[in-house]
Amino acid sequence: MPSGALLFQSVVLGLLLGGLYALLAAGLTLYFGIMRVVMIAHSAFLILAAYLAWWWHERLGLDPLLSMVVTVPLFFAAGVLLQRMLLARLRPATLTMMSVLLTFAVAVLIEGLLGYAFTGTQRRIQLDYGSAGFGLFGARIAVVKLIAFGLAGIALAGLYLVLKRTRFGWALRATIQHPDAARLVGIDTERIAGYGFGIGLATAAVGGTALALDTTIYPSLHWHWIGPLMAIIVVGGLGSVPGAAAAAMLLGLLQSLLQIPMGTTWAQTVFYLALFATLAFRPQGFFGGRLAQRF
Amino acid sequence: MTLQTVDLRKAFGGVTALDGATVRFRDGKINALIGPNGSGKTTYFNCVTGMIRADRGRVTYRERDLTGRAPHVIARAGIGRTFQLCRIFPRMTALDNVLAAVRPAGVFDALRGARHRVETGRARGWLTRLGIEHLAGAPAGTLSWGQQKLLELAGVLMTDPDTILLDEPAGGVNPALLDRIGTLVRELNAEGRTFVIVEHNMDLVMSLSDHIVVFDRGRPIAEGPPSVIRTDERVLGAYLGV
């Protein structure tokens, strides 16, 4: 029987992990909402951002958090370009399928280029505060994990504000909900979709930096992330940002708790079991998301 | 006896598309379903044919409850439909488009050649009757708009339906073809097939139909023969937005 302290520690770790999942899944679900695109390359961009943060720290000796000054705008631009130059060229009839392949190709491309540039060696940012932690009601919280969680939280809150409070967010939501109606009221949906993609990728830049703070990175790491993330967006209901965030926190917590009795490997299967259960019993997801039925 | 729905209701998010649609169509007749844009006609078709699951209500056809059944089950019950914007299989030949409507009787039947003589003959027969037999070998996507509409109808007829739902058959069609479609519907009706037609072209509706149901805001507001509907105040109100 696990002790109360261990349980509490696992809950804390699960929540910290869930925050990062939530941010990443939000980006993934945004793409799906905008264009019905399952963006396999999302986690590859995540690792790319982590590498850039690592490189920034290693070569320039600056705090990895500062790398976001460069990576966030860079990724935003990359997202816009990706949507405008590649995805918009696909035939709408086969868009969903072909976009999976196309973004898959991009993911493999990024993995290959990362391997070429930085070799397959595992990398880790060595920070002065890397092993620092503090106690909280008997649990210990690592400073870097808290920073990562804070970054995810800020980025998610920012995303929420952009979507709910700005004119652009209004246009974006209109584009997601009803592209043709949006066009009728004078929204340039193509441009909005591009910007939406940019924002999605920008969240990957933030997430990658957060990831780089506390874990090892290597080029093929993105496969490790894409599975859980896709499970999260299905469980959350394809296309629903709050659904994805809720599913992410829940599954992150569940994974962390299940590690106590089951071990790390088996605990990971919780994502896939949730995915299969969702599709078998409730294809529209557990947290809304009206798009899911048709995809 | 015939196709009828009771209290059909469907909402998309906050928008109510069908709001308690209780309708009974006349068997063996040409029925029309009219109403202003957004009054729920296409949603109604989609709910009846199982493409969309209604939130509430029942669909029955010839004493059989079809509520919530899969589209292919409803099709096999004898209800054929065309789509508002004419859906065909663009990369298949016109002939294959019609043959795709053949229903194999079992596993071994399914593995028989698709171009079986009997069925091919029937398919060509329909293509001939609709006047597009000369295009049998062409990829359906290369046909003109009007030809595609005829091809879609040929596919539906291949399933030998008792009741045919036509969603805007006159949409985007030239006057000559419009006449042909009108004649065709009358002929097929005379052969015993019931029609339900959603249409905006009032001339066609008034000249063709025996019985008209008027939808507004997701429910029927009036029904009757053309002569009655023409003068119904509620109908005028719905169309004029009064």
Binding site: L6, L17, Q122, S131, G133, A142, V144, Q259, T265, A267 | -
Partner: protein, 406 residues
């Protein structure tokens, strides 16, 4: 229209590329050269998961070839390495040895890196009746396949790495002896082999195993495992690690402020980057090693000097293992007097089986399965430096137990 034209162009381009590829792949059989060097074939993971240790092994082989050639070669013939990249992939490693033996007609083959790749590679060599000396297949499974031509060129297999440490712990007076053990091992035959060798010996000696975790090779988040270990407050921590996973686990444990009395990790602590990677909080960490740059064997002095001259840094364990492999093969070739495919290979195998070979890791002999008979030395981080502490005969510093806080 434009789309169609564009499509055409790509079709033509791809068609041309395919034809080129086909042309390039057929018929580039190399003609046998006149002065006939001894070609030694090897496949290494230069890309992929094992690329880092793979490069170390490559350097070891290159150093060996250079040192041999500078001394006049083998049997008066130059030694030439033919290295293929297996991308850390078992399918490829088999294709590579298939190519080396069948197509390139190399005279000798030596082993790749990592147990996962050694077994499939060894089978190819076995089925072509080639001698197969290898630097990396340390897990016991390698020796359970019934291979007759395989020899592992290192002092001990994974399960025996900690023999000296286990003996030392169990010899402590009962009052001092640790009581509880936490184990976390990567799901990898080698890493588990080392950790479980020690775990099983301690368990047999009466210690209780309170945590026993396995994590997949691609694990990056060690928070949960660390939480479990920290909650158990085990006296002894055994980490079956490669490199980065060991670093990650140690950092995660330090984040939770866990202080064991003894912490042993395989391979990671001997890596030159290790101290920096864990923020120099290395105090007291133990690691087994099969190789020491300071070992007094004559060939080792030469190896360290010449290797340092060639590569600018002293050799590590991976390099030394590859070099040892070369030494074993060279000894057999010199003694038997031949190096080519065919009957000669049988003679080489028989010679190695019956003789002791002097290497940079000391004298080596093998049992019938190709398993070496020996144990590893134990090193400990003391005052910012890693020193040999066990066995007593080879120690450079005193073994510190319980270990100071990290």
């Amino acid at each position: 229209m434009p789309t169609t034209v564009r499509r055409m162009r790509w079709a033509t381009a791809l068609g041309a590329a395919a034809i080129l590829a086909l042309g390039a792949c057929s018929g580039d059989d190399e003609p046998a050269t006149g002065d006939d060097p001894i070609v030694v074939g090897v496949s290494l993971p230069l890309t992929g998961d094992f690329s880092e240790p793979g490069k170390g092994v490559q350097q070891g082989y290159e150093a060996w070839a250079k040192i041999v050639n500078d001394a006049g070669g083998l049997l008066g013939r130059r030694v030439e390495l033919k290295i293929l990249d297996d991308q850390s992939n078992a399918d490829r490693v088999v294709a590579d040895y298939e190519q080396l033996i069948g197509k390139d007609q190399v005279d000798l083959v030596v082993g790749p890196f990592s147990t996962r790749l050694v077994v499939p590679a060894a089978r190819v060599a076995e089925e072509y009746d080639m001698l197969f000396v290898e630097p990396a297949g340390a897990a016991k499974e390698v020796f359970e396949q019934g291979f007759k031509n395989l020899f592992y060129a290192a002092p001990a297999v994974a399960n025996d790495h900690y023999n000296h440490l286990a003996a030392h712990i169990l010899a402590l007076p009962a009052a001092q002896r640790p009581k509880t053990v936490a184990v976390a091992a990567m799901d990898d035959p080698f890493a588990q082999g080392t950790a479980y060798g020690l775990r099983d010996k301690l368990k047999a000696g009466g210690l209780s195993i309170v945590v026993d975790e396995v994590y997949p090779p691609n694990t990056t988040d060690f928070g949960s495992i660390a939480a479990k270990i920290a909650a158990s407050r085990a006296d002894v921590l055994i980490g079956g690690s490669q490199y980065q996973d060991g670093v990650n686990l140690i950092v995660a444990l330090q984040q939770l402020d866990y202080q064991p009395k003894l912490a042993a990790f395989s391979t990671a602590p001997t890596n030159p980057e290790f101290a920096k990677a864990v923020g120099n909080k290395t105090e007291g960490i133990l690691s087994p090693t099969g190789y020491s740059q300071d070992a007094p064997y004559p060939s080792n002095t030469e190896f360290v000097a010449k290797y340092t001259a060639q590569f600018g840094t002293p050799p590590e364990e991976d390099q030394a293992n590859a070099y040892t492999t070369g030494q074993v093969v060279a000894a057999a070739v010199t003694a038997v007097g031949c190096a080519e495919q065919g009957d000669c290979q049988r003679k080489l195998v028989d010679w190695i089986r019956g003789n002791e070979v002097q290497t940079v890791v000391g004298p080596l002999t093998w049992d019938a399965t190709g398993k070496p008979r020996g144990a590893h030395m134990i090193q400990q981080w003391i005052g910012g430096d890693i020193r040999i502490v066990l066995p007593a005969a080879a120690k450079e510093a005193e073994f510190r137990y319980p270990k100071p806080a990290w």
